[in-house]
């Protein structure tokens, strides 16, 4: 199978092209077959390839195939190549596997939508871009995928083209991502300037084999600069502080899109990139510190915001941001395999949560407000049960998937000498359990808070939607078993061992052994924290429904602060957008030309418009004025020469 590696990304691309070009004419069943079929086949191909990889001896678990020389100019060479090693193997399985399930789910969810073919075309394209990203053998190809997912997310988030908010959200996602991409591409340039190559293998080999030239850095050196620039890209793509604002807005897309973006693809790209560049990060203490701090802060902040949100998809969105924070914490404390492990389990249960939420929204006829749900378990039993499993998994209850990965991260933080990080992480785990069960109880338990008209058409979703839920529920249950921790006495962590060859070039700090019994105690503590969260949620939302309202009323200030998401959007508006708008309106517009721009300003557009307004003064349409610019330019250039040489 390894010879046909190119099939894996190309299948979705072909599907996308076919659906995009001919889907409209050939009808929806054709679209379904092509769309899901290409994703399914890609999954099978990926599975076959990874199976080959598993069969190979550990030292042979790296396949790098170059197809053609993409760019060759002077000493700069970039091959079009795909890399399959344990790390990308895990990623392609997750991407194609979860992606395929989401595709199947979309058959039911998007049924009857006018842009059915368009939707599947975009989804396939998205898979393609993500696969290019994870299978890239060099930084440049990775950047191609990196930009590609950004572009596709723009198409998918803005899918409901009639809704202005959808278009805005798409634009926001794209612009924020582009800001991150600047950092990324600059990092890539710096890599090239430093190592003279963009191939992962070559760059990492140079780093690992030249400890004198690239020592582990404690201060800010070249590697730190590269790592931090690349991390800016990761912050944008993986929605970390301060660039996380696009992700909650991305809920404007159809729910399967949210599932795809949040669970299996796009947002995990940043984590993947950091782990892929482990040889760089692990040699820079400063970069690791930044990654850890950003990760843990994001985890905590997003979890607290999640406590108060009432839109079911927004709660999930903030939970994604929070869980991504965990993954970065793992990378920050050099527990790279734990980060990827959590990435995988998270893909299972987060996809499940989103699809479950989609099923609820579907059943409720588009309602997303938790305060208008309640008692749904009677109407949608399969959705209810699978959602419960997902909530238990994300909370980290033994023996579901989330338990193993989250526990490993928290323990690594402690073992790596970061007790504060561990403590905050533990508290965040409690919060996570609380808000996930708050969601579950509000939606499925308690009195029904909706009208009769909604009740009439309440129904469980069709099998094409519930079967994916069940599959994902199984994965969320057993997915953690691939990486059983050593303290269970069943041998070393298999998952970490499998990944090890891909992380061979990473710098290993010295660690001290901690006995298994201590590890066991830590696991116990984190389960306890989750249980406290769950019972608190049960007390407030099932046992004593008045308590929640009371608490919100008592702690008016903090509650509003959280409900308003720390006012971050408002702060961004105030600090960045508004001053520009005000200054421009008061000082520039009135002075120059009132009404050049008709009020509608947002984000980048606003600030650009201000500068543009100033520059329009230059471009006043008069030949004489233009001539004076030419003369000014000539005078300035001459002045320079007279100064420098005269």
């Amino acid at each position: 199978m390894l010879d046909y590696l190119w099939l894996i990304p190309l299948l979705p691309l072909a599907g996308s092209a076919l659906n995009g070009l001919a889907g409209k004419r050939l009808g929806s069943s054709f679209v379904t077959w092509v769309g899901c079929g290409s994703a399914g086949l890609a999954f099978l191909a990926a599975a076959a390839a990874v199976l080959d990889l598993v069969r190979a001896a550990p030292q042979n678990r790296e396949v790098l195939i170059s197809y053609f020389t993409w760019i060759a100019c002077g000493d700069f060479v970039a091959e079009a190549q795909f890399l399959l090693d344990p790390l990308s193997g895990v990623m392609i399985l997750v991407v194609t596997g979860v992606g395929f399930v989401i595709h199947v789910y979309s058959i039911g969810y998007m049924h009857g939508d006018g842009g059915y073919y368009r939707f599947f075309s975009y989804m396939n394209l998205f898979l393609f871009a993500m696969l290019v990203l994870v299978m890239a053998g060099n930084f440049l190809m990775m950047f191609v995928g990196w930009e590609g997912v950004g572009l596709c997310s723009y198409l998918l988030i803005g899918y409901y083209i009639d809704r202005k908010s959808a278009g805005d959200a798409g634009k926001k996602a794209f612009v924020v991502n582009r800001i991150g991409d600047v950092g990324f591409i600059l990092g890539v340039f710096l890599v090239f300037a430093t190592f003279g190559s963009l191939d992962f293998a070559e760059v990492f080999r140079q780093i690992a084999s030249a400890p004198v030239r690239f020592p582990a850095e404690t201060g800010v050196g070249l590697l730190t600069a590269i790592a931090l620039l690349l991390f800016v890209g990761a912050i944008g793509k993986s929605a970390q502080i301060p660039l996380y604002v696009w992700l909650p807005d991305a809920m404007e897309g159809p729910t399967p899109v949210s599932a795809l973006i949040h669970a299996a693809t796009m947002v995990t790209a940043g984590v993947y990139m950091v782990v892929r560049c482990a040889p760089i990060y692990s040699r820079s203490e400063a970069a690791l510190g930044v990654v850890t701090v950003v990760g843990i802060l994001t985890a905590w902040l997003a979890a607290t915001i999640g406590l108060t949100q009432t839109d079911i998809k927004r709660v999930l969105a903030y939970s994604t941001v929070s869980q991504l924070g965990y993954m970065f914490v793992a990378a920050g404390v050099t527990a790279f395999s734990a980060g990827i492990f959590h990435l995988m389990t998270h893909a299972f249960f987060k996809a499940l949560l989103f699809l479950g939420a989609g099923s609820v929204i579907h059943a409720m006829g588009g309602e997303q407000d938790l305060t208008r749900m309640g008692g749904l378990r009677r109407y949608a039993p399969i959705t209810y049960r699978t959602m419960c499993i997902a909530a238990l998994a994300i909370s980290g209850i033994f023996p579901l998937a989330g338990f193993f990965s989250k526990d490993e991260i928290l323990f690594s933080a402690w073992a790596g000498g970061h007790p504060v990080v561990w403590a905050v992480g533990l508290a965040t785990a409690g919060l996570t359990a609380f808000y996930m069960f708050r969601l579950t109880f509000l939606a499925f338990h308690g009195p029904e808070r909706f009208g009769d008209d909604v009740r009439h058409h309440l129904h469980e979703s069709p099998p094409s939607m519930t079967i994916p839920l069940v599959i994902l529920a199984i994965l969320a249950t057993v997915g953690g078993f691939v990486g059983l921790p050593p303290w269970m006495g069943l041998g070393p962590n298999r998952f970490a061992e499998f990944l090890a060859p891909a992380l061979a070039h990473a710098h290993r700090p010295e660690t001290h052994e901690i006995s298994h019994s201590v590890e066991f105690v830590f696991a116990l503590v984190s389960v306890l924290a989750a249980l406290i969260g769950i019972f608190l949620a049960r007390y407030m939302y099932v046992g004593n429904p008045a308590a929640a309202g009371l608490l919100a009323a008592r702690a008016r200030g903090p509650y509003t602060l959280l409900y308003r998401k720390y006012y971050v959007d408002e702060i961004y508006d105030r600090l960045l957008v508004n001053p520009i708008v005000v200054v421009s309106r008061e000082m520039l517009w009135k002075g120059i030309d009132v009404g050049i721009v008709d009020g509608t300003v947002n984000g980048v557009g606003a600030s650009m418009r201000v500068w543009g307004g100033l520059l329009k003064y230059v471009q006043n349409g008069l030949v004489r004025s233009y001539a004076s610019w030419i003369l000014t330019g000539a005078a300035l250039l001459l002045y320079y020469v007279a100064r420098m040489r005269g």
Binding site: A635, A642, G646
Partner: protein, 174 residues
């Protein structure tokens, strides 16, 4: 070549040329501007004489001051000979900007021109056969070294003729 007469003549031509050039700017009626420019061109032809380039000086008077400027005057007469430039100026400040920039160019250019060292320029080309202004030598170089540009001037003129005809032709439709 140094003589008091030469110097005196140079300053005479230079002052007249400059005065005429400034007058081109000062005149409100374009007709007078054009006439002033002819004066300027003719004085520069005088400077050419001082530079021992009689042929160029002749061409300057006949072709430049003669033919080309007549074309100008012709068009001026055709369109709008004597109306003064619009008194209302959309950007009056541009006048000051222009003077300022003109001065700036001069101030910055002056040291650069002043630093010019004739001795640093290698004399690579012919200094044979007659003076610089000899028509024979002009022709020899023009039709040998500069054959390609010379032929291309015909294309240039052709383009100009086609362009002028296309644009200035009477509008076909009523």
């Amino acid at each position: 070549m140094e003589s008091a007469l030469d110097t005196a003549l140079f300053y005479l031509f230079a002052v007249v040329a400059m005065a005429a050039a400034v007058n081109v700017l000062l005149q409100r009626r374009v007709f007078y501007s054009a006439l002033s420019l002819i004066v300027c061109l003719t004085s520069v032809a005088g400077v050419y004489m001082l530079l021992q380039s009689p042929f160029i000086a002749t061409v300057q008077v006949i072709v430049y001051a003669g033919a080309i400027m007549v074309l100008f005057l012709f068009v001026i007469m055709l369109l709008d000979p004597f109306s003064a430039e619009a008194a209302r100026d959309k950007r009056r400040y541009l006048n000051y900007v222009a003077v300022l920039l003109g001065l700036a160019i001069l101030i910055f250019l002056y040291p650069l021109l002043n630093a010019y060292e004739l001795a640093h320029v290698p004399r690579l080309l012919d200094s044979a056969a007659g003076g610089v202004g000899s028509v024979r030598r002009l022709a020899a170089v023009l039709f040998d070294e500069y054959l390609l540009p010379f032929e291309l001037t015909s294309v240039l003129i052709l383009v100009a003729i086609v362009g002028a005809v296309v644009l200035a032709r009477r509008q076909a439709k009523a």
